[in-house]
Symmetry: C2
Subunit: 239 residues, 2 copies
């Protein structure tokens, strides 16, 4: 049951500091090839990956993602996009009448899920090569600007970015919630949430104190309240 | 660059026929533990997994998912749910004022992405143990009924199911699109789509002919047109 792949998955940490060593062209293409083998709804493959090699573009994207310096500095930065445009374009090649892909919540969801399944395979592949990664949800902060500078056509939507490179840090493991609040049987149950999540709150408090050298004393519930009291990302009109 | 994990990712095939051998409790919990270590936006962990062990429930879910027999027969069937309910519930434990998680497109997306990243880690973990999996997007066909029979509270949304078990088939590799239509550099480009997708169409036609013993002669564009001409799943009102 325990094997190298499981060990690797269990030891994942997001990496935000990278050595200067480049990711080779062969590594990058293998990482994307692994992404492509992930499950995809009805074989739609509704995603695209934009690799950002242009330094000026990197700088702009780093700023749009909330001044995350590693977006600029990482050896590779990929923007993972949900993509219904290629699907629609290819459907015109069939010769017969072309059906239309409507901008429904289902189509938005199915393409975002396709994107995430592929990107997670990429993350696992990269880590198996000794590389580290971090997802950058921050590119949705200003998704219109990102859409514009990457020249994404209608039907293509930036879901998240991903930095890849050789790790130059060893972050301590970020504790996850107890498995028994995540895994349910036959129906959703929540009667045990208060006690288990109160314990988790203290686990996170200790983790934060340790990670920040005592600078930050907050539990998970408190941090989540801070997050959701702040300004929220809005994507509304794109659906 | 090539290693066991990469080899495994590249050889993924969805499995729809399983041996009767049960997935052990230890395997299942390790698979979910691996899922939990996937990246999650701001450590929100906005997902839950419902393991379906009740035979009657399985039968209902199999019917709702479009009469997919393997939903009923697979040793394990998991329903992966986007979950903002636990997050909101835990936020009430902080003592201070509780912020409210609004039902925005962003929150829907971020929880669905969290779910997909976790589930793909589960898929990779399962396959590393010699198990096979298939995703069941069909549970969204009737998401209201699924929500009801699994007693999902507001804020919890079934994204897809997953069958797991020891494979009892060896499907031939399902060809993916050429990497050069998926991977872009610095901006989205599509001038090369027609020629490469026309080639892919013929690759899929050969695959379909071989897989169906000549019964089905269709290329990818044609199949996608058939799919999008048919009745479409609608989730609209949940956003």
């Amino acid at each position: 049951m325990m094997n190298k792949t499981v060990e690797q998955l269990l030891s994942h940490q997001s990496i935000r500091k990278f050595q200067n060593t480049p990711v080779t062209e062969e590594q990058l293409r293998m990482i994307v090839a692994c992404a492509q083998k992930a499950s995809t709804s009805s074989n739609m493959q509704a995603y695209s990956v934009i690799r950002i090699t242009d330094a000026e573009l990197r700088k702009q994207l780093a700023a749009l993602a909330g001044n995350q310096g590693y977006v600029e500095q990482a050896p590779e930065f990929l923007v993972w996009c949900a993509d219904l445009y290629r699907l629609q374009a290819a459907m015109r090649l069939s010769g017969g009448e072309t059906a239309s892909i409507e901008p429904t919540a289902e189509n938005f969801l199915v393409s975002a899920v396709d994107t995430a399944l592929a990107s997670q395979n990429a993350a696992v592949a990269a880590e198996s090569m000794g590389l580290g990664i971090v997802y950058i949800g921050g590119i949705r902060n200003h998704f219109r600007e990102v859409t514009e500078i990457l020249q994404l056509p209608a039907g293509v939507f930036p879901v998240f970015g991903m930095c890849i490179g050789v790790p130059d840090q060893e972050p301590s493991p970020h504790p996850r919630q107890p498995i028994d609040v995540v895994l349910h049987e036959n129906r959703y149950t929540s009667g045990h949430y208060s006690s288990l999540m109160a314990q988790y709150n203290e686990t996170i408090r200790s983790y934060m104190i340790e990670r920040t050298g005592g600078q930050r004393n907050a539990n998970w519930s408190e941090m989540m309240n801070v997050k959701f009291r702040g300004p929220q990302r809005m994507l509304g009109e794109t659906l």
